[in-house]
């Protein structure tokens, strides 16, 4: 693909080993930057509140996003509804650094995702298996994250999605070349991308964990399972001491293999977000946009 796509993949590479935090105000954005976030996701309501409020949830007010852009020097991301390319055009017009075409918002299109190849700004998309990840990449996504289950504080789905994506990558890596054609059909993705995964043993873009991460231990778990960084949504500003928890999660992502340090980081963080088990919720956001 073109040079712009390479530059957009490159920005994701710079975010690796970092934590991207959901923020709803300029003040929260400053707290996040101060705590060591490598980027912030600007949105009007964090997923836990979207979940409890119900109704249609949409792209945030550009004015609110601009106030966050003005407040911090790190990259600012924002969400659009799946398939809502007009919302994406608006975010591109205000020079957002990354667009998240996200299942957290109400989908605008139940069949088609945005043709992301037509944009200059980069996109990150959620995936729960390798087929979804490669379909989003073929549509032009330059970064992937697990879907997990946003707004729950329950990490089980992020773990399931990360394990599945990596299992499927290992399977493709060990598939005979003449069987890759059928693998592409089974995954419903372009043959060229399957061939690339077969050769390299990884996704052609950076892959973060997202959805339900609430503690330093959750972050370390996802990193040890192969995530290249994490998104933390409701987990920080729904907890008792956001600044302290945010800092602890940042350090946990850097030192995800150092159990002794993780023990120190996990101490005395105040109350974690309450959380909902996946069995207790009616709306599975991860089922949106396949």
């Amino acid at each position: 693909m073109n040079n712009r796509y390479e530059l957009n993949k490159n920005l994701a590479q710079m975010l690796k080993g970092g934590v991207i935090m959901d923020v709803t105000t300029a003040e929260q954005a400053r707290i996040a930057q101060e705590a060591g976030a490598c980027a912030v996701m600007a949105l009007e309501r964090i997923p836990a509140d979207i979940r409890s409020a119900g109704g249609v949830s949409r792209m945030s007010d550009p004015k609110m996003i601009k106030s966050i852009q003005a407040a911090v020097s790190i990259p600012v991301m924002a969400k659009v509804r799946i398939g809502h390319f007009a919302e994406a055009q608006i975010l591109e017009a205000i020079e957002i650094d990354y667009i998240d075409e996200s299942e957290v918002l109400s989908p605008a299109d139940d069949t088609y995702h945005i043709d992301k190849t037509g944009f200059s700004v980069p996109f990150v998309c959620g995936a729960k298996d390798l087929g979804e990840a490669l379909r989003r990449i073929s549509e032009g996504a330059s970064m992937i994250r697990t879907k997990g289950e946003p707004g729950t504080g329950d990490v089980v789905q992020a773990v399931r999605h990360m394990r599945l994506i990596n299992q499927q990558i290992r399977t493709i890596q060990n598939t005979r070349e003449d069987e890759l054609f059928q693998a592409a059909k089974d995954l419903q993705v372009p043959y060229e991308l399957v061939q690339l995964v077969n050769e390299t043993g990884k996704l052609p873009v950076v892959n973060f964990a997202a959805g339900g991460i609430a503690t330093p231990a959750d972050a370390a778990l996802m990193m040890q399972l192969g995530a290249e960084g994490v998104f933390v949504g409701s987990g920080i500003f729904k907890s008792g001491n956001p600044a302290k928890r945010a800092q602890a999660i940042v350090k946990a992502v850097t030192n995800y293999n150092d159990a002794k340090l993780l023990a120190e980081l996990s101490e005395d963080l105040g109350e974690a977000m309450v959380g909902i088990n996946e069995q207790e919720i009616d709306l599975l956001m991860a089922q949106r946009g396949l």
């Binding site: 530059l7 490159n10 710079m14 975010l15 970092g18 490598c38 790190i74 990259p75 020079e95 030192n255």
Partner: protein, 200 residues
């Protein structure tokens, strides 16, 4: 003994630097905690790209700041790319933050604007010819002290420089297949190894 380069690995694109070093037959090790500095004697240090606010903060909180600053001031060859350049700058424009501050220059963060301003180009690097340069939300150097050599300019802005043991680029040599900058840095490393050997 094989040459060993420490690559600061608290956040950012450190794996890409280790990969570039490996292609040149040099051993790159990840630096995440103070013990990583004492476990292996280092011949050089790379400060990679990433978010300078994050890296600067983690350096201090993981107790890496002082030992790394001591090593740099003692003359250990260091290559700083993008965020690494910001860490070494003695002054950041419109910002009171100073990290190591060991290199005599004023750097401007996000000098080309947001991600839409990121770009790739080719330009002359020192006497090594034209090389590809990738700029991602990049800084540039506004001014340098008299003891700093300018290694590259793009559109009249300084994008690479050297002061003694310190080499900085505002672009990302680790993101292209071209190894010129790493080779340039490793020549510096070899010179220092030789000098240390002769002094002994």
């Amino acid at each position: 003994m094989a040459t060993t380069i420490g690559v600061l690995a608290v956040q950012g694109a450190f794996a890409e630097h280790i990969n570039a070093l490996e292609q040149l037959g040099v051993h790159g090790i990840e630096i995440r905690k103070p013990a990583d500095l004492t476990d292996h004697p280092l011949d050089g240090l790379i400060l990679p790209g990433g978010e300078s606010t994050v890296i600067g903060k983690l350096l201090r909180e993981l107790a890496l700041f002082e030992p790394l600053k001591d090593l740099i001031e003692a003359g250990l060859p260091v290559l700083g790319t993008c965020a690494g350049l910001i860490l070494l700058a003695s002054k950041i424009a419109e910002d009171d933050t100073i990290h190591f501050g060991t290199m005599n220059m004023v750097a401007r963060r996000n000098a080309y604007g947001r991600q839409l301003g990121s770009f790739q180009t080719e330009a002359e690097f020192d006497a090594c010819g034209q090389i590809p340069m990738v700029f991602i939300r990049a800084p540039y150097i506004e001014t340098v002290g008299h003891d700093v050599d300018i290694l590259a300019r793009v559109d009249h802005h300084i994008v690479a420089a050297r002061q003694g043991n310190m080499v900085v680029t505002s672009f990302h040599p680790e993101l292209t297949a071209d190894l010129t900058v790493h080779q340039y840095f490793l020549r510096l490393v070899q010179q220092r190894i030789l000098q240390t050997y002769l002094v002994r």
